[in-house]
């Protein structure tokens, strides 16, 4: 018996030592280097960027509107961190940023994001929602987490987007060892022995990769678009040979796709057929490989347009064409769409290049308000329609909780953080989303939030827990203790939570607040943090 006890004691001691070891020295932050990104910005890149900026300027000129002024740098990097990492910059990152020479700051910031696991995870989750949704899906046959982490690995390796999509559509194998096939297995309905759902897959492929809402043609011809029921069935037929077996998803070359006529119950064979530009379908390969070849063909403009619209939506909180997955074949779009789509198809379907182009564009760096130097300047709905002002959009729930967690720490919460910090962030996130709600697949948030969400921010456990007096864990208390004078504390809190410095009016108001009262600085800082967390500016992208 004592042997077993000793063994237990040893294991426990080893565990404690390991924990203490990871507590002590924090590893240095990831090296950021903007130089490789600068090298990517070649002549072709700069040409596209100039065309993009020019296209918007012409539109503004024609409409006779004056765009919003340029946003300050901190606003721009807040947008980038929210869009690409689902959180806000930390105080630590902001200090490093401000020490960089002005000309390479943006590249340096983006290089850090591209190398950061938080970016891969966040982007993977956003894309996964379009690819497989948020449902738990069939037990055993579908591993969502496996799928998302595979997607994150692909994004970390900057896999060309066409290759990524071909894997999703055409892979064979088990949902565990070949995570891409979860794209197919998520549609299996347990117990009904019908295998993958060809119709659901056709709808997904059209919406996620081509931004076509062909699903309306599932039961009847589309009422106001060009899609016919035959188009939908023809697309579904490409999945007619995908079978689920003990070896996972495999193709059965003999299988044929049949549909049942609802009235007569008779079965009718349907041949695979794409709804447009059939000449782009490759002659060789399995049905799914041929479909994947057609979807991702460089000349299939819809493929590039779809991802441009999606990445634009990711960056601005609002797509070029709404809704994000509905760009009609013959639709009149802003020139920006095709300028970016062409560059994307011509330069190896490189997602990072696309992100870089959008981030460097003038429209991305515009302010979300009128020119303070020009009292006559008014932001009109036309400004919003022509991107002459940065849109104000509601943050997604996971961005709100990401921002709460980060604002409550002075140092960056990243993959390098201590395991306990990461666990706390995860627990906060789950608890928060459970009450705040999860936006699910919904990309657009036309509604202005809900009352329970406001209640959660005002009275909820997570805000309270992250702001109350706790010198070890909470930035609010640390600032209260460390700041040499009230103004300094106010400025630091604003940087932590809103990624900006206070205005003179705010300086005055909040410095006075900190000086007032019983001298309990920690409680006054908790109040300040509460107000910062509850204001519009915190919950909206701007």
């Amino acid at each position: 018996m004592w042997k077993r006890n000793l063994l237990f004691a040893l294991v426990a001691a080893a565990g404690l030592l390991a924990l203490a070891g990871s507590l002590a020295p924090t590893r240095p932050p990831l090296p950021r280097d903007g130089a490789p990104l600068a090298a990517q910005q070649d002549v072709a890149f700069r040409t596209t960027l100039t065309r993009l900026n020019q296209a918007f300027r012409e539109a503004w000129q024609q409409a006779g509107i004056k765009p919003a002024p340029r946003a300050d740098e901190l606003t721009v990097i807040r947008r980038l961190s929210l869009a690409l990492e689902g959180t806000i910059p930390s105080l630590e990152e902001l200090r490093q940023f401000e020490e960089r020479p002005a000309q390479d700051r943006l590249n340096w910031w983006l290089a850090g994001i591209f190398a950061d696991v938080r970016h891969h995870d966040y982007l993977a989750e956003r894309l996964a929602r379009a690819y497989v949704g948020t449902k738990g899906g069939p037990f055993v046959l579908y591993r969502r987490r496996r799928f998302v982490s595979w997607l994150a690995d692909e994004l970390a390796a900057n896999r060309p987007y066409d290759q990524l999509v071909r894997r999703l559509i055409a892979s064979n194998g088990l949902w565990t060892s070949t995570p891409a096939v979860n794209f197919l297995t998520v549609t299996i309905v347990p117990d009904n022995e019908q295998g993958v759902n060809e119709r659901e897959l056709a709808a997904r492929v059209a919406r996620a990769f081509l931004a076509k809402r062909i699903d309306c043609a599932e039961c009847h011809d589309h009422p106001f678009d060009r899609w016919k029921q035959a188009d939908f069935e023809g697309l579904a037929a490409f999945f007619g040979q995908a079978e689920n077996s003990l070896r996972g998803i495999q193709d059965d070359p003999k299988a044929v796709f049949e549909v049942e006529e609802p009235e007569t119950k008779s079965r009718r064979r349907v041949e695979p057929r794409v709804p447009y530009r059939a000449e782009l379908v490759p002659a060789e390969g399995t049905l799914r490989e041929r479909l994947a070849g057609w979807v991702t063909h460089p000349q299939n403009k819809e493929f590039s347009r779809a991802i441009v619209n999606r990445v634009w939506n990711l960056m601005f909180g609002r797509p070029l064409v709404e809704p994000v997955d509905d760009v009609r074949l013959d639709q009149q779009v802003l020139p920006a769409m095709d300028i970016l789509a062409e560059d994307f198809a011509q330069h190896g379907f490189n997602l990072r290049r696309l992100i870089l182009l959008i981030a460097a564009s003038e429209v991305f760096q515009l302010d979300s308000r009128s020119d303070p130097a020009d009292p006559a300047h008014q932001i009109t709905p036309e400004h919003e329609a022509l991107w002459a002002v940065f849109p104000i959009t509601r943050l997604r729930p996971e961005q709100v909780v990401g921002a709460i967690s980060q604002a409550s720490r002075l140092e960056t919460i990243s993959s390098q953080s201590h395991i306990l910090v990461k666990l706390k962030r995860l627990a906060d996130q789950q608890g928060f989303l459970q009450r705040y709600g999860d936006a699910g697949e919904e990309e657009l948030e036309p509604h202005g939030g809900t009352i329970p969400q406001r209640l959660l921010m005002m009275n909820g456990e997570i805000v309270r827990d992250n702001t109350r007096e706790n010198l070890l864990a909470n930035a609010a208390t640390q600032i209260a203790v460390l700041a040499s004078k009230p103004q300094r504390a106010v400025e630091t809190a604003f940087l932590c939570v809103l990624t900006r410095r206070p205005t003179p009016e705010e300086f005055e108001h909040f410095s006075a607040r900190l000086r007032q009262g019983d001298g309990n600085m920690a409680a006054r800082m908790e109040d300040l943090y509460w107000a910062l967390f509850n204001c519009s500016e915190f919950s909206w992208n701007h």
Partner: protein, 445 residues
Amino acid sequence: MKSRTLPQPLAQLHAREHALAEQHFQGRFDRRSWLRLAGLGGLAWLTPAAELLARRAEAAPAQPAQSIIFLWLSGGPSQLETFAPHPNTRIAAGSRAIRTSVPGLLIDQHYPRLAELMHHVSLVRSVVSKEGDHERGAYMVKTGYRPNPTVVHPSIGAICCHQLPVGNTHIPRHVSILPDAWPGHGGLLGAEYDAFKTYDPLGPVPDIEARVPEPRLEKRFQDLDVLERSFARGRERQAQSTLHGLLVQRARTMMTTEQIKAFDVSEEPAELRARYGETPFGRGCLAARRLIEQGVRCVEVTLAGWDTHANNHQQHAALAGTLDPALATLLADLKERELLSRTVVICTGEFGRTPKVNGLEGRDHWPHGFTVLLAGGGLRAGIALGETDPEGGQQVVRPVSVPAIHATVLTALGIDPQHEEISAIGRPIKFSEGEPLPELLAGTG
């Protein structure tokens, strides 16, 4: 390019809700005024037209139901060990049944208190669905639709909130007490129709109470004003359209309203609480009654644990010990307070369980014939509709679809099931694609 839809100001939303309210009560008003007209005439009773009108007024429920109490048996209860027993058959596997206040109608032996009130209840014993997975089944039963990747259908409670007037209710009108992973949701109607999640009524209502005393809270709101002024500078119109300030105000109203006490069952007499059962679920049912008295439109109370893949009989008996007193007392309490006729009580889970008992003495998932219990709301009571196969086959007598149940309940609420809302992909979606069950709507119960 389509123009961006700006958030509709709440005021407008309100106006719409009130317009709906008027529509909703139009029917009632008409019938009443006809009656008054006929009554005033005195002799007019002798005319055939008046007689016809009077008879119609009698036949139709006096007024549509106002609220839903949805007792959600999460996990999928066995129809055989609840409300559709087949005593003395092979599939009963030893389960016994008892007589009820309705002659010839038997239910499981562990529901003696419900048995006494069976004349207030109707059972649909032949509900069929195609969804044998918990998540999909819960979606099906709560929305009346199979899951579909292109649209999120609203739960029936959300429809109820969307269609019926707000009145003077300042607390959440769609509430889920003890929610499982899939509480009722607004779906295409919007997140503002999602159920407000709360737990055992013994504890505080989550997020309602301010964390600091009033004077300090007041200062915090002053601080907030300073920040809102900064944010609005140069973007007054856009800042306004976020509705942020309005929502903060309404949240504050909710924090201070007396109505919030409806969540607190400790105000109820101890004797009544004991009758409901001193369990989280029993207290949840009591809170549900208190909430609908404040004009809450839908309260969902969840009792979990019905997923009995092993030891089915034992676990069902234990759960009946919670469900029977809570459900029976809820019905009696509603009846006593004259709330039953304006409240539809629904009690069911996501599917039933297999007639065949498995090797672990459990029953597995079975969507091919399960029971939905309905009471109140002017629905006909004291009947059992449909039957499952005593041999355990998949064929049922008088199969009823889940959408038909939805159409029936919506009709009882005075809501047109055929009403269409437009989904995000531009496809019109009906509140329910089912036909109401004539047997249940035929008369007042």
